[in-house]
Symmetry: C2
Subunit: 351 residues, 2 copies
Amino acid sequence: MQQKMTLKRLAAVLGVHSSTVGRVMDPQTRHMVSEEVAERILREAALHGYRPNKIAAALRTRRSNIVGVMLPDITNPVFPPILLGIEDALRKQGYVAIVANAGEDRAQQRFVVDQLLARQVDALILATATRDDAILDYCLASGVTTVTVNRGEDTRRVSSVVNDEVEGMRLAVDHLAQLGHRHIVHLAGSQDLSTGHLRREGFMTAMAAHGLQEEALCIVDCSSYSREAGRLACETVLARYPGATAILAANDLLALGCYDSLRAHGLRCPQDMSVVGHNDMPFADLVDPPLTTIRIRHHEMGVQAAQLILRRLQDDPVGEMEIRLKPELVLRGSSAAPRAGAAGLRAAAAA
Amino acid sequence: MQQKMTLKRLAAVLGVHSSTVGRVMDPQTRHMVSEEVAERILREAALHGYRPNKIAAALRTRRSNIVGVMLPDITNPVFPPILLGIEDALRKQGYVAIVANAGEDRAQQRFVVDQLLARQVDALILATATRDDAILDYCLASGVTTVTVNRGEDTRRVSSVVNDEVEGMRLAVDHLAQLGHRHIVHLAGSQDLSTGHLRREGFMTAMAAHGLQEEALCIVDCSSYSREAGRLACETVLARYPGATAILAANDLLALGCYDSLRAHGLRCPQDMSVVGHNDMPFADLVDPPLTTIRIRHHEMGVQAAQLILRRLQDDPVGEMEIRLKPELVLRGSSAAPRAGAAGLRAAAAA
């Protein structure tokens, strides 16, 4: 075994002051040393098996400066902007996010939480929360600071940063009602999730405000927030509600699945069926037709969640809270006034 | 200060066998204990400030079971599938990925590498590599196992998992040439990146194979792989090459930017201009018109990169290598035979 290398010995070998080595060994201060010198010191340090050892510091301080972020589905384009917001806020204070993509399966989520806790994350940001979340029990039992983002729990026992879902559905229903739609079908997300539940509640409230609850309260439940689930739900809409002139989907992926189904039936959007999404995910403006949707401020959601975490970690006595961001309606080409007789023709064809 | 809690004391307090506490404290074995008991033990452990301490183990073994992944742009839809592949392969062996989104800026990348190294990552997977990458010097100086994914370095001094870029461009040029296009413009990515450089080289080689190099070797350089850069480049194409009938973009985001520009000029794709992308990113099939593109196997790229890393970490004497995956052409609606006279009309209008 080689002799244990110390910071002082390393400085002597390199002929530099030990404070220079110290600065290079601490990532927080390394920028104070020129890149050339830093590289030379790091190379020599690696040669002697001496590495910047933040882990030892973490062991002393019980702080790792890592925040774990658990996502349900990184292929859903709404999550990258949330992550960007989290990273932007964390980076400003020298924190790094460990991002893990855990899926919706509870056992897998538990495994990922175990992995994150084992890495001594200082805190967790969960984008995976269900309305009654056993994983959250598990996180609280372990004593780690936890905040949920995008989705909240019914109990509100931990802070959350979410969209105002009821307001979003009000905007969407108002828009369709003003265009003259009376037969609007809601594609609902999972009722285990706050987004799915509150958007459905918001739909019913907004329909009632327009006096539409009796005549046309049509809801199709979707198995997941995916394009394929949206395609299947649209098939159900066409079979079950031949009088429908508009579909209001609980998210944009579901709305894009409707496009697939309508196309397969030779139906045009918006002439034969208006479709409104929810999220304004990236590229929603480029699809055919460009998607009318509710814009949710995902980046800001991430920033707020990270700031809550950082205040907690700095022992700021911030209580639990729910931060609810206002959405806005984005008008594009997938919604239009119902064509006189369009639904009637479909109803006749279906009869 | 409370008395230091040990595993044995904790077991005694809870009235369980110490081996049960040991299993719960190790995330790798926690699944062997029922969720209810695990939660009770974790809750009691948290109460006494006793937490599963992987950091102490890491300090002894110098292994953290974390692989750092550095991305240039998480909002580019090609990266989530690469990440999924990396995570899938790592998870099977109990490793976790720390994902950090560093951007293309070198100083920021250096900061992120410092942060990752400070967390004692066992290895790095860089999706950020440039053809001559100073950050890679920096990683090598620190002695950490490093592999690049999606982009490679010219020197090939570290292993990389990439797409066969030259083959991809051959497929795209063959397709356009077979449709009858002679005036094809390439929107080239950054020449500092292997993807940008090799796709440009591949374009020139493929054009020469069709005897098109003399008559129509038209290339527009793009400042970044973004939709906005593609829009600007398409403006240049329309102004500089009025005879062009097809655009072959170095990635899908550039191709989507062409859609924006063509639309603004009242030009139709593919009737007035064929557009072919590169990547087959998610949702490329849903845009208007659906994008003809080169499918790159991003998920598999991630799997291969993670497997290279895992073999290294298991001291498998695997040498440096370049793994090059075969792409395929995906035919959709954005490419068609050039319309007789279409470019001529534009040329006349531009004259």
